[in-house]
C-alpha cells in the first residue's frame, strides 16, 4: 500500500477523508493534523527497503503462507530436491519457537535462517531485514520466506516479497478462502497441497475451493500439488520459472539504482539508513 502519493484515497472513501469531510474537522484551541498514513507505515517502508535489496541482487522473494501443518516445509524440501540445480535457493523460516524447520532445510545442503518470533503470530518486515544481514544475496536466485503458520495475521504484513503463495491443504476443507478472505485475497498463487489425499478425503472439492476463490475476486492460479507423490511439482516449477523471467524483464525495464543505499547486507552492516527512514514522513499536509 502506498502512503505518499494519495493513491490509497479512492472515490469510495475520499468524501470521508478529504479536508472538510467528517473525519477531518478541527475544534477550537486544538490542532488537527491530517496524516493519511497506513498504520503499518513503518513496516511498509522497511518492506520496500527489503524489496530493493532483493532487486539489487536479482533475487526473487516468495512468501509462503498457510495454516500450521499445511505442508510448507515439506513443499520446500521437495522443491530443493527437484528444482533445477542452477537455481540457488535460500530459506528464511518463521516459527514461534524451535529451529526444527531450518534444520530440516539445512539437511538438504541449503542455507536456512530461522527466525523465532517468540509470541508474535506473524513475520514482519523488520524481522526479514534482520535475517537479510545474515544472507549474502549475491549467492542466491530465490529466497523463500516460510511465514508463521497462520491464515490471519501474516496477511497484513508486507515483508518485501515479490509473490505471495498460500497453501490450502486438503484436510483443512475447501471453504478456507471464504473463511479467510483477507489472506486468500493477498495470494498470487494458491496451492492445494496434500493432493494425494483427495481420493480419501473426498468431501474436499477442488472446484468448490476455486469457486470460493472467485467469490473473493481472486485471479490467482490454482495448482494441485503433493510433496509426497510429487504430482503437480512441474506446474509449480513452471510458475517459479515464469516469475523469475517476469522479474528479470521488469528489472531490465526498471533498473535498480545501486547508489541509493550505501550498504550491503553483510555482518558489518551499518544502520545509517534507519535514520532517513522517518525523515520523509514529515506531516506538512495540515489542513
Amino acid at each position: 500500500m502506498c502512503d505518499t502519493c494519495g493513491c490509497n484515497i479512492t472515490h469510495g472513501n475520499e468524501s470521508l477523508i478529504r479536508p472538510g469531510g467528517k473525519l477531518a474537522k478541527t475544534e477550537s484551541g486544538k490542532e488537527a493534523v491530517t496524516v493519511l498514513h497506513s498504520l503499518l507505515h513503518e513496516n511498509d517502508h522497511t518492506a520496500q527497503h527489503n524489496r530493493e535489496h532483493f532487486d539489487q541482487h536479482n533475487v526473487l522473494a516468495i512468501n509462503l503462507m498457510s495454516s500450521p501443518g499445511a505442508g510448507k516445509t515439506a513443499l520446500l524440501e521437495a522443491t530443493i530436491q527437484q528444482l533445477d540445480k542452477n537455481i540457488r535457493i535460500a530459506v528464511i523460516e518463521g516459527d514461534l519457537e524451535t529451529e526444527n524447520d531450518a534444520e530440516r532445510i539445512r539437511k538438504h545442503g541449503v542455507k536456512a535462517i530461522q527466525i523465532a518470533t517468540g509470541s508474535a503470530c506473524h513475520l514482519d518486515a523488520h524481522m526479514i531485514h534482520q535475517a537479510l544481514h545474515n544472507l549474502d544475496l549475491s549467492e542466491f536466485d530465490i529466497v523463500f520466506i516460510e511465514n508463521v503458520g497462520n491464515l490471519v495475521c501474516p496477511a497484513s504484513f508486507d515483508l518485501g516479497q515479490h509473490q505471495n503463495v498460500t497453501l490450502l491443504s486438503v484436510p483443512e476443507g475447501d471453504d478456507k478462502p471464504a473463511k479467510y478472505p483477507v489472506m486468500f485475497r493477498t495470494s498470487d498463487l494458491v496451492m492445494i497441497s496434500k493432493s494425494d489425499l483427495l481420493p480419501i478425503l473426498d468431501d474436499f472439492k477442488v472446484d468448490n475451493a476455486k469457486r470460493y476463490l472467485q467469490d473473493i475476486a481472486s485471479t490467482a492460479p490454482v495448482i494441485e500439488l503433493s510433496s509426497k507423490d510429487k504430482s503437480g511439482m512441474p506446474l509449480w516449477f513452471d510458475w517459479i520459472n515464469q516469475q523469475i523471467e517476469t522479474r528479470k524483464a521488469y528489472l531490465q525495464e526498471h533498473p535498480v539504482h545501486h547508489g541509493h543505499h550505501h550498504h550491503e547486507h553483510s555482518r558489518e552492516h551499518s544502520h545509517s539508513h534507519e535514520h532517513h527512514a522517518h525523515a520523509e514522513d514529515t506531516l506538512n499536509n495540515d489542513s
Partner: protein, 122 residues
C-alpha cells in the same frame, strides 16, 4: 493477535507527530479501516490502552471509522456494495471485480493540545 503490534506501530506514528508539533498531549486519534484490512476494530480498541500507556496519547480518544466494502465490476463497470467473502458484482453477477474501498488501514488524523502555543489562543 496482531492488533497489539499494529497499535504499537500506530502509537509510534502518533508520538512522532506530537513531538514534531510540540504538542502537550494528544486528545484524539482517528483511524479508518475497512473489513478487508485484516484488523478487528474492537481488538484494536482493546489494545489501545496497553499501547498508549505512558505516552503523550495516553488519554486520547481512539476513534475508529469503518469504511464500506465497494467493488467495481471489470465487466459491466458498475459499482456495488459487497461483503468480505462475496466480492462479486451485484449488477451483473460477474466475479471479476476490483476493490474500490474496504481494505484501508489508515491513520487519518490526530488532534493535539497545544495550550502553551500563543498561536492557538486566537
Amino acid at each position: 493477535m496482531h492488533e497489539l503490534s499494529i497499535c504499537q506501530s500506530l502509537m509510534a506514528q502518533v508520538e512522532s507527530i506530537a513531538l514534531e508539533h510540540r504538542a502537550q498531549s494528544v486528545t484524539s486519534v482517528v483511524v479508518a479501516m475497512g473489513p478487508l484490512s485484516g484488523v478487528e476494530a474492537q481488538l484494536l480498541k482493546n489494545a489501545y490502552p496497553i499501547a498508549s500507556a505512558g505516552t503523550v496519547a495516553e488519554n486520547a480518544e481512539l476513534i475508529v471509522k469503518t469504511l464500506p466494502i465497494r467493488v467495481k465490476c471489470n465487466q459491466c463497470g458498475s459499482e456495488s456494495d459487497a461483503t468480505p467473502n462475496k466480492l462479486i458484482c451485484k449488477q451483473c453477477g460477474d466475479w471479476r471485480t476490483t476493490l474500490v474501498s474496504g481494505d484501508e488501514l489508515m491513520l487519518m488524523s490526530v488532534e493535539l493540545e497545544k495550550s502553551k502555543d500563543p498561536k492557538s489562543v486566537h
